[in-house]
C-alpha cells in the first residue's frame, strides 16, 4: 500500500499549504488595508473570509490524512515519537484558532458588528505561529 501512503502524504502537504498559505496572504491583505482609503479597505475586507474558508479546508485535510497515516504508515499511535505528540498539541491549537476565526466571521455576518473584526489581526499571527511549530515538530518527529 505504498502508493496509498504516497497519495496521503501528498494530500497532507497540500493540506499544509492550503492551511498555512491563506494565513500569509491575509497578513499581506491587512497590511494593504492599513494604508487603503475607507472604500478600498471595505473592498479588501471581503477577502479574508474566503481565505479563512480555504484554510479551514486545509486544516481538515491535515487531520483526515494525518489520522489515516498514523495507522497506515506507523501501525497506530503507540509507535509515534514524543515530538509527534508535541506537534499534535500545536495542531489542536491551530484548529482552535481556525474555529475562532470561523466563529468571529459568523458573528459578524449575524450581527453586522464590524468591531468584531478587530479579533482577526490577533488570531492570524497565532495561526501562523501554530502552523510554524507544527512543521517544526513534524520535522523533528519524522526527519
Amino acid at each position: 500500500m505504498t502508493w496509498l501512503n504516497d497519495i496521503l502524504l501528498v494530500l497532507h502537504f497540500v493540506g499544509l499549504v492550503i492551511g498555512a498559505g491563506p494565513g500569509i496572504a491575509n497578513m499581506v491583505i491587512m497590511r494593504t488595508a492599513a494604508t487603503a482609503t475607507p472604500d478600498g479597505a471595505a473592498a479588501l475586507r471581503k477577502v479574508p473570509p474566503v481565505l479563512v474558508n480555504v484554510s479551514t479546508g486545509g486544516v481538515a485535510l491535515l487531520w483526515i490524512t494525518g489520522l489515516i497515516m498514523v495507522w497506515s504508515v506507523y501501525g497506530g499511535p503507540g509507535n509515534l515519537p514524543w515530538a509527534f505528540w508535541v506537534k499534535i498539541v500545536f495542531v489542536v491549537a491551530l484548529t482552535a484558532v481556525v474555529i475562532a476565526m470561523q466563529v468571529t466571521l459568523a458573528e459578524i455576518r449575524k450581527t453586522g458588528n464590524m468591531a468584531l473584526a478587530a479579533r482577526m489581526p490577533k488570531l492570524g499571527p497565532l495561526a501562523g505561529l501554530s502552523a510554524l511549530l507544527v512543521v517544526f515538530f513534524a520535522v523533528v518527529a519524522f526527519q
Binding site: 501528498v10 498555512a20 498559505g21 478600498g40 477577502v47 512543521v135 526527519q143
Partner: protein
C-alpha cells in the same frame, strides 16, 4: 549536523507555504476584482504585487535550502533518486513561469491589459508545477 538539516527542512516547508500563499491569495483576489466596482478594483489590484514579493521570498528559500540539503543531507547531486530530477524539472518550470509573470505584471502596471489578462492562466500553470514538485518530492524522499 542533524539539527542543521532539521532547520533547513523546516525552512523548506516554510518556503513552500509562502510560495503557495500567492496562488491562493491571487485566485481569491482575481475573483473579487472581477466583481468589484472600478474604485474598489484599483485598491484590490495593489494586492497581487505585494503577495508576489512573499512568493518570491518563498521560492528563493526553496532553492537555497534545497540546494544546501542536497549536499548536507545527501552528499551531493549524484546520490539523488530519479524522481528528484523530475521534481527539479517542475521547480525549474515554476521558476521560469514566475519570472515570466513578473514581466507580465510589469507590463500590466504600465497599462497593458492583454498582459494583465494572461496572468491568471500562467498563475494556474505555476500552481500545477508547484503541485507536481510536491508529488515528485514525496515519491523521491518517502
Amino acid at each position: 549536523m542533524v539539527w542543521l538539516n532539521d532547520v533547513l527542512l523546516m525552512l523548506h516547508f516554510l518556503g513552500l507555504a509562502m510560495g503557495f500563499s500567492a496562488s491562493f491569495g491571487n485566485m481569491v483576489m482575481m475573483g473579487i476584482i472581477a466583481k468589484a466596482k472600478p474604485s474598489e478594483a484599483i485598491v484590490l489590484a495593489r494586492f497581487p504585487p505585494a503577495i508576489s514579493r512573499v512568493a518570491d521570498i518563498g521560492l528563493a528559500l526553496l532553492w537555497v535550502t534545497g540546494v544546501v540539503m542536497v549536499f548536507t543531507q545527501w552528499g551531493g547531486p549524484a546520490a539523488m533518486p530519479g524522481f528528484f530530477w523530475v521534481k527539479i524539472v517542475a521547480v525549474v518550470a515554476m521558476t521560469g513561469l514566475v519570472g515570466y509573470m513578473h514581466s507580465l505584471m510589469g507590463r500590466a502596471q504600465r497599462g497593458d491589459m492583454a498582459s494583465a489578462r494572461q496572468l491568471p492562466t500562467f498563475g494556474r500553470i505555476a500552481s500545477i508545477c508547484a503541485l507536481l514538485a510536491v508529488v515528485f518530492a514525496v515519491l523521491a524522499f518517502q
